[in-house]
C-alpha cells in the first residue's frame, strides 16, 4: 500500500516486530530464567487463546456493533468440535480445529439469520438464549459432548512447547484476519452499518449481508479459540460456556479499547499480568476485575488504545491546516454518467403523486417532482413542510403510502440499500459521518470495490490493486473538496463545514447519477457555502442531477436551475428561481400569514 512512511507507522512496525519476537522467544526466555518454564509457557498460551476470543468479540461488537453474549457458547462449541474429532473420531487435531471454525461460524450465521429483524438489544438477548441452549445441550448430549463431565484427554500429540507455537501462530492469524478484514471494504461496510444502517444503505451497503459476514467471521474465530482451548487444557466441559467466564473477555475488550486493532491484545495482556501478580489472592480476582472494568469505563471510556489514539501523542501530527481551498479545480474524471449520456426526455429522478402519513398527519399530500439530468433542482419550504419526508420516499427509506418513484424512467428498487446501485445517492440532514474513522476511510466507504472479503483477508494482488485504485479516487475527491491535508485525521476532528463537505464527497464517491443533498448549507460559513455551490456546479457539468433540499433560500436561488416549493406536504410553486421568489404563496409560507392572525 502506498502510504507514506511516517514516524508513527514506523513505531507501529517496530512495536509489532518486538511483540512477535517476544512471543516467539518466550519459551527460551522462560527456560533460561525459570524452573517452572512450562507454567509460564502455558500462561502465555492461555492468554493468546483468550486474545483470539477477544479479537472475535471485537469484530462482532467493536466493528460490527452487534452485542454478542454467545461468545463463551461459541468457544464451547469449538471446543466440542475439536474434542470430538480428536478423541471420539480419532482424527488428527487440525481437522478438529477446522471443524471448530466451521461449526461456530455456522451457528453464528444461523443466529444472525433468524434474528435479522431484531433490534440491537433483542439481538443480544437472542445470543444470550443461544448461549444458554448450547450449554444445556452440552450437558445433555452425553454421546457427543460427554455430558456434565465433558470430554477429557484431548491431546494434540505434540510437545507442549511445539503446541505453544501453534497457539502463537493462531493468534497471529486471528490478528491478521481482523486487521485485513477491518481495512477492507467489507470492514468499512461493517463499520458503516454499525454507525447507522440508514447511512450505510444510503451508500449502497446492504446491512443484512454485511452483518451476516461480520458475525460469521467473528464466530469462526471464536470457534478457533475454543478448539485451541480444548487442545491446550486437554479437556472441555459445559462450564466453559458459562456467561460468568465471559466477563474476562469483556474486561479485556473494554480495558484495551473496543473497536481498535490492538485493544484486545493489550487488554488481555493487562488482565493476564494482573491475575498472575494476584494469584496468591486468587479469590479476589473477580472482584478486582469487576471494579477495574467499572473504573476503566469511567476513566478511560475508549480503553487504553482508544485513549492513546485520542490523546495528543497518538493523534497524527498536525498537518498544514487546509483552509478549505481546493488544491485542484477538477472533479475526478470518473465522476459522472460516463456510461450513459444524460437523456433530456426522461427525468433522472421522478416522483409521482407521493403520499405519506404519519399517524394522523399527512406529511406528503400528493407531491409530483421531476428532476432532469444535468440540472440542479432545489426543493425548498418551511420547517416541517415535508421536504425530508419527500427525500426519504424518493430514496425508499420510507415506503410511500401512494405514488411511485422512477429512476431514469424505470421503477426504483424497493429497498433503500439498492437505490444507490440504481444511481441515486442521498446525503442526510444531520451529519452521519463515521466519526472515529479517518477522513479517507469515510470516503472509501462510499466506493464499491470488486473484490471479496476472502481475497481481502488474504491480501491477494487483485484486491490490493482495487484498493489502490479506490484510494487514488478517494484522494482525488478529497483534493477537490480541499480536504486532502486532513485525509488521515479522524473525521470528528473536522469543523462542521468540513464534515458537511466530506459527506457530500463520500456520496459522490458512490458514483451517483442523481445526488440528493438534504440541507447541506446549514451551519456553513460563507466560504464553505461557496465551495458547496462550486461542487454542485461541477457535478452538474458532469451531467449529474443534483437535488438540493434547502432552507437557505439565497443559496438555492444562486445555484439552482429549477425550484420546487413545498408547504404542508403539497407543492405550492415550481419553476425558475426568480419566478418562485416573487410568488406570493412562497412569501407567505416563509414569513407567515399575518392576515390570518388578529393584530394587536
Amino acid at each position: 500500500m502506498s502510504r507514506p512512511l511516517t514516524a508513527a507507522s514506523a513505531a507501529t512496525a517496530v512495536t509489532t516486530a518486538a511483540v512477535v519476537a517476544l512471543l516467539l522467544a518466550w519459551p527460551f526466555i522462560t527456560d533460561f530464567y525459570s524452573y517452572n518454564a512450562q507454567y509460564y509457557d502455558g500462561l502465555v498460551a492461555s492468554a493468546a487463546i483468550a486474545a483470539v476470543l477477544t479479537i472475535s468479540l471485537n469484530l462482532a461488537m467493536g466493528y460490527g456493533g452487534m452485542l454478542s453474549m454467545a461468545h463463551t457458547g461459541l468457544q464451547l462449541l469449538g471446543g466440542y468440535g475439536t474434542a470430538f474429532v480428536a478423541v471420539k473420531a480419532g482424527l488428527p487435531w487440525p481437522v478438529g480445529l477446522g471443524l471448530a471454525v466451521v461449526l461456530s461460524a455456522v451457528l453464528s450465521a444461523l443466529l444472525l439469520l433468524v434474528s435479522l429483524r431484531a433490534t440491537y438489544l433483542y439481538f443480544g438477548m437472542i445470543t444470550l438464549a443461544a448461549n444458554l441452549i448450547v450449554i444445556e445441550i452440552g450437558r445433555e448430549w452425553d454421546d457427543v459432548t460427554g455430558g456434565i463431565n465433558g470430554i477429557t484427554g484431548i491431546d494434540p500429540g505434540m510437545a507442549k512447547r511445539a503446541f505453544y507455537y501453534v497457539v502463537v501462530a493462531a493468534l497471529i492469524v486471528a490478528y491478521l484476519v481482523q486487521r485485513n478484514f477491518v481495512r477492507s471494504s467489507a470492514g468499512r461496510a461493517a463499520m458503516a452499518v454499525r454507525e447507522s444502517p440508514e447511512s450505510a444503505s444510503a451508500m449502497g451497503i446492504r446491512p443484512a449481508t454485511t452483518k451476516l459476514l461480520t458475525f460469521s467471521v467473528a464466530g469462526g474465530l471464536a470457534g478457533l479459540s475454543g478448539g485451541l482451548y480444548a487442545l491446550q487444557l486437554g479437556f472441555i466441559n459445559p462450564d466453559v460456556g458459562l456467561l460468568d467466564n465471559g466477563l474476562v473477555f469483556f474486561v479485556g475488550l473494554f480495558l484495551g479499547g473496543i473497536g481498535t486493532l490492538a485493544g484486545p491484545l493489550l487488554g488481555v495482556a493487562f488482565i493476564t499480568v494482573i491475575v498472575e501478580l494476584g494469584k496468591d489472592h486468587a479469590r479476589y480476582t473477580t472482584l478486582i476485575l469487576g471494579v477495574a472494568l467499572l473504573v476503566s469505563m469511567m476513566v478511560i471510556p475508549r480503553g487504553i488504545v482508544g485513549t492513546w489514539q485520542a490523546s495528543r501523542f497518538g493523534r497524527p501530527k498536525a498537518a498544514p491546516d487546509a483552509g478549505g481551498d481546493p488544491e485542484t479545480s477538477q472533479v475526478p474524471a470518473s465522476v459522472g454518467s460516463g456510461d450513459r449520456p444524460p437523456d433530456r426526455d426522461v427525468p433522472a429522478l421522478e416522483g409521482r403523486g407521493l403520499v405519506k402519513h404519519f399517524g394522523g398527519v399527512r406529511a406528503l399530500d400528493g407531491v409530483d417532482i421531476a428532476v432532469q439530468a444535468g440540472t440542479v433542482h432545489g426543493v425548498i419550504g418551511p420547517n416541517g413542510s415535508g421536504k425530508s419526508t419527500l427525500v426519504s420516499c424518493l430514496t425508499r427509506f420510507y415506503r410511500a403510502d401512494e405514488g411511485e418513484v422512477l429512476i431514469f424512467g424505470e421503477p426504483a428498487p424497493a429497498a433503500s440499500w439498492a437505490v444507490p446501485g440504481a444511481g441515486v445517492t442521498r446525503v442526510f440532514q444531520v451529519p452521519h459521518l463515521f466519526e472515529r474513522q479517518s477522513v479517507l476511510d469515510n470516503v472509501l466507504t462510499g466506493i464499491r470495490t470488486p473484490y471479496s472479503w476472502v481475497s481481502a483477508v488474504l491480501r491477494l494482488p487483485s484486491c490490493l490493486r482495487a484498493e489502490r485504485e479506490a484510494r487514488a479516487f478517494a484522494t482525488e475527491l478529497l483534493a477537490f473538496a480541499g480536504l486532502a491535508a486532513r485525509a488521515s485525521f479522524p473525521a470528528d476532528s473536522l469543523s462542521h463545514g468540513q464534515k458537511r463537505l466530506l459527506e457530500v464527497v463520500r456520496a459522490v464517491a458512490t458514483r451517483p447519477r442523481v445526488l440528493i443533498l438534504d440541507e447541506p448549507a446549514t451551519g456553513l460559513v460563507p466560504g464553505e457555502i461557496d465551495a458547496l455551490a462550486r461542487l454542485c456546479a461541477a457535478l452538474r457539468e458532469r451531467g449529474l442531477a443534483v437535488v438540493l433540499i434547502e432552507h437557505n433560500v439565497e443559496f438555492v436561488m444562486k445555484v439552482c436551475d429549477e425550484v420546487t416549493v413545498i408547504e404542508t406536504g403539497r407543492v405550492i410553486a415550481r419553476g425558475a428561481p426568480a419566478q418562485v421568489r416573487a410568488d406570493p404563496a412562497v412569501l407567505a409560507a416563509y414569513l407567515g400569514r399575518p392576515d390570518l392572525v388578529e393584530s394587536s
Binding site: 441452549i133 466477563l247 473477580t286 469487576g290
Partner: protein, 289 residues
C-alpha cells in the same frame, strides 16, 4: 406427582415474577436491563441465612435488615451502573456495567459464604396443609400471596397514581418529562432502590424453600429476564404471567424428564418468543438503545 410439580412451579414462578418486575422497574426509566438484578435476590437469601440461621434473631430483624441493606445496595447499584453508562458513551456500556456489577456482588457473596452450598434459613411460616394428597407449606402460600400483592400494587401505582404516570412519561421521553417538572434522575435512583428491595424480599422468602447458593444470582437474573421477555417488559401483569409460565414449565419438565431438559425448554421458549413475538406475549416492544 404432577400437582406437586405445579405447586413448586407456581412458587418459583412468583419468585421469577418478582425478579422480572424488578428488571422492568429499572428498565423503564433507564433502558438498562440490569444483569445484576439477581444479586439482590441473593442479598435477601444471605440476610435470611445470616440473621435467622446463624444469628437466631428471627424474621422481623431479617426483614428490617433486608430492607436497609437492599436500599443501600440499590443506591450503590445506581451509581455503579449508571455512572459508567453515562460517562462511557459506548452502546454496550449497560451490559458491561451491569455484568461487572453482578460479578462484583457475586464475588462479595462468595467470599463471605465460601463454604455454604445453600443459604437456607428456617421458613417464616412453619408447617403447611394438604391439598389433594400433596403437602403445601405455608411459606409457599405466603410467598405467592406477597408476590401477587406486590404485582397488583405496582400495577395500580403505575396506572392510577401521579407518580406512576410520571414514571411512564419518563420512560417514554425523559427530556420532555424534565420539562414537566418531573425529577427524572430521582426516579431512576428510586427505581433501582425499589427493584433491589423487591428482589431482596423475593430472595428472603425463597431461601427457606429453594436451594440458593451465593453464586446463583446470574441464573435468577436470566430466569427473571426470560419471564420478563415472555410477559413483555414493562407491565407488572406481564411479569406475573411470564414468571408463572417459566416457573411451571421449568418445574413440570424438570419432574417429568430432568433439570437440564427444564432449562432447555425454558431457554428454547425464550429464543422462540424473541424471534416470533418481538413484543413479548403481553406487552410493548423493548425499544432499541
Amino acid at each position: 406427582m404432577t400437582l406437586q410439580a405445579w405447586i413448586d412451579g407456581v412458587f418459583t414462578g412468583s419468585i421469577y415474577a418478582l425478579v422480572a418486575l424488578s428488571l422492568a422497574i429499572v428498565y423503564q426509566p433507564t433502558r438498562v436491563m440490569n444483569f445484576a438484578q439477581g444479586e439482590a435476590l441473593i442479598l435477601g437469601a444471605v440476610v435470611g441465612y445470616q440473621v435467622i440461621s446463624l444469628g437466631k434473631l428471627g424474621w422481623v430483624v431479617a426483614i428490617l435488615a433486608t430492607l436497609a441493606l437492599a436500599t443501600l445496595m440499590g443506591v450503590l447499584s445506581e451509581r455503579m451502573i449508571m455512572l459508567p453508562v453515562r460517562l462511557s458513551g459506548s452502546r454496550f456500556a449497560w451490559i458491561v456495567a451491569t455484568l461487572a456489577a453482578a460479578l462484583i456482588f457475586q464475588s462479595i457473596f462468595t467470599l463471605g459464604y465460601r463454604d455454604v452450598d445453600a443459604l437456607r434459613p428456617a421458613p417464616m411460616a412453619e408447617g403447611g396443609f394438604t391439598l389433594a394428597g400433596e403437602q403445601v407449606s405455608w411459606q409457599i402460600v405466603l410467598t405467592v400471596a406477597i408476590a401477587l400483592a406486590v404485582m397488583a400494587g405496582y400495577d395500580l401505582l403505575l396506572r392510577r397514581s401521579t407518580y406512576g404516570r410520571a414514571i411512564r412519561a419518563a420512560s417514554h421521553n425523559p427530556g420532555t418529562a424534565v420539562l414537566m417538572g418531573i425529577p427524572v434522575q430521582r426516579i431512576i435512583v428510586l427505581s433501582f432502590v425499589v427493584a433491589t428491595v423487591l428482589s431482596a424480599l423475593a430472595g428472603l422468602l425463597a431461601a427457606p424453600v429453594l436451594f440458593i447458593g451465593p453464586a446463583a444470582g446470574l441464573i435468577f437474573t436470566i430466569k427473571g429476564f426470560t419471564a420478563a421477555v415472555i410477559g413483555g417488559v414493562g407491565s407488572p401483569r406481564g411479569a406475573l404471567a411470564g414468571g408463572l409460565i417459566v416457573g411451571v414449565l421449568d418445574s413440570v419438565v424438570r419432574t417429568e424428564i430432568n433439570a437440564t431438559a427444564g432449562n432447555l425448554v425454558v431457554f428454547g421458549l425464550l429464543a422462540l418468543i424473541l424471534l416470533v413475538y418481538p413484543s413479548g406475549l403481553f406487552g410493548k416492544p423493548m425499544e432499541a438503545h
